[in-house]
Symmetry: C2
Subunit: 379 residues, 2 copies
């Protein structure tokens, strides 16, 4: 085939693709208009945006459609999920149903902070009266806290204790809550300072999210859950999932998934630097999976060290747990030093058993993730 | 608004969405037909499937289209990238241009293995004559290796050395290559055993990939690169990116991104088990980012321990490097034990500086990844 003829033919096909893609843009704009109307309707009726069953049914139907049309079902599912994310954003632009219209006032202590802001915004758009209490407002705290129905402490972890201590004069029926990433200590302090309903919350998301749909909020009961349960229902109206757990179990779990991971990731970054690694070369050479791991390390160092040191230094119990990790690391390294592959493989199999079905589920999920990481590559 | 009226109105809108989604499926099926034809045309003309400039231009154009239609440009880019992945798969179904028609025969030692298979398939679909040499074929290796132009060693790392040793009687002009994940030792051994062109390769992907588009193959020169450069060009025709580096630098980098990460991930899994972590609770409680980290740990334990122990035990130099990591970990932990936040923050800032612009780039990339992880959630 001559190049000129190839060029001609490929240009015809490329124009066809461009035409399809332009139609695609138009179709998606049409879809967006409809979902915006769905949002308005739901907001007016006070119905939740995220309806898991509807989402699942829609995916099921169009997976089948796709297969009948000779397309990959996974392709259409991926695209619909991406469209749903967009449609949730458009629907979130409207207001939400107010679960408790009898609520007089909500005060967010630290409501100007990154995470506090999100709650201020959502409560406001659910037609609650919301006030913020920041560092400089304590002189008029009496006024701000007068007649309050809910107080949520949303300050950096190092201030949580001292702020809670100041909240010793709330109305008896006021709900006192915090959103600190540790739960046992703040909960204990809230219980001491306030006799009414108390609940500890840990929102499992950062300030980057654009809405609460599919996000998790961990709930640790203090007292009088029947008085604060409407608050959890409000979170669910926003699309969040609540998960109840004992404060102590929460802290133990977080020490392992949050504190320990943060710390060892930081240590790994420090290790790379000290070993004199060639970072740009590492990036060039990385497979999708190593790139993903490198990203998870590097991302941390773009953020505020105070954020991490506060979490890591908050609970001295974590130190011994992390020391145990380092010692286990050295213990396993001894097997390598002695060339004892059998011992290593034996340990590996034990851990595999312990992971059980999760190992396979995670492998499957990670493969889907890695394909998505590949999609992002520009060259 | 009455519920019945809400139900009526929402059902109308939901039907509209379903209609749009059905049109979407049809449009994508049409697109797939066109891209399949592009594939056939390119295959016949011997043109590469992946043309980065064309991809970039197409994205640019439709980002603009999307914005003009009141849509998010990122939405259309994400969807087009997903469609491109699919279109590459459809195009890959056709043959590839054969870069070197003078090549008489390619032998893949271990060509029945997971990674070897991929190369056998790609060479075959590029119209090369390909033979496999497996464990039981050595009695007739004389016959298989007669008149061979390229031999690629694609066996598990623990057999690489002994296999290379057997390849001491290749035609002078034959290219000898391996695809082991370490490079210095196999390269040294290939150079010793064969006087012709030698090249060490490390494909930075696993056996799960469906084509080589956007994948990286690391290249460590042995000798006579002018004789094997057509092989690298062939990889590029398949869509892969080649990256040349010294064998020693490769091994050093891999010890840190591959060996060290594997080992510490395994140690972390062992730690979780030994600490008696409640895995299902950890999963329930995880934020998208902790879930991603947990997945990256668990995925490993769904795989063959021999695979990992071979890599970890392959190079004793790695032991001292990993020991240094554990000692640094304990050293940093001392700061925490002594409550020395300043020292910790100081160290953190140093590492941030060392990461430089990568830290911000990685943060941005990880945010895009986490949104994609959210999309995958089913409830």
């Amino acid at each position: 085939m001559k190049t000129s003829s190839f060029e001609k033919e490929i240009n015809v096909l490329r124009n066809d693709i461009d035409e399809v893609d332009s139609q695609l843009v138009k179709l998606l704009a049409k879809r967006r208009k409809i979902t915006t109307n769905v949002g308005k309707l739901k907001s007016a009726a006070g119905m939740p945006i995220y309806v898991p069953e509807r989402e699942a049914a829609l995916l099921r139907k169009h997976r089948e459609n796709a297969e009948n049309a000779g397309l990959s079902a996974d392709l259409i599912e991926d695209i619909l999920r991406r469209l749903m994310r967009d449609s949730y954003i458009s629907q979130d632009a409207n207001g939400y149903r107010c679960v408790n219209t009898a609520c007089k006032k909500i005060v967010i202590v630290g409501g100007a902070g990154q995470l506090g802001k999100i709650f201020v915004d959502l409560f406001t758009r659910s037609e609650y009266k919301v006030s913020i209490l920041e560092e400089n407002d304590w002189s008029r705290s009496h006024e701000i806290l007068a007649d309050v129905s809910v107080v949520i402490v949303a300050v950096p972890i190092r201030w949580t204790s001292s702020i809670i201590q100041k909240l010793n004069n709330l109305p008896d029926d006021c709900i006192l809550a915090d959103i600190t990433s540790i739960k046992e200590k703040p909960l204990y302090e809230m219980m001491k300072v306030h006799a009414g309903p108390v609940v500890g919350l840990h929102p499992m998301f950062g300030p980057d999210i654009s809405n609460l749909i599919k996000q998790t909020i961990i709930v640790c009961d203090g007292r009088l859950s029947n008085k604060y349960c409407w608050l959890l229902e409000q979170f669910q109206v926003w699309g969040a999932k609540t998960y109840s757990v004992e404060a102590n179990s929460h802290d133990k779990a977080m020490s392992m998934v949050q504190v320990m991971r943060h710390f060892s990731t930081i240590a790994y970054g420090y290790h790379l630097m000290t070993e004199g690694a060639n970072l740009s070369q590492l990036v060039e050479m990385s497979s999708p999976i190593y790139r993903l791991e490198l990203i998870m390390v590097g991302r941390l160092f773009a953020q505020n060290p105070i954020l991490y040191s506060d979490i890591i230094f908050a609970n001295p119990d974590n130190i011994s747990m992390m020391k145990r990790f380092a010692l286990r690391f050295l213990e396993l390294l001894k097997d390598v030093e002695q060339g004892d592959k059998d011992a290593f493989v034996e340990m590996f199999k034990q851990v595999s058993n312990w992971f059980g079905n999760y190992a396979n589920d995670f492998l499957k999920e990670s493969k889907a993730m890695l394909l998505k990481a590949d999609d992002l590559k520009s060259n």
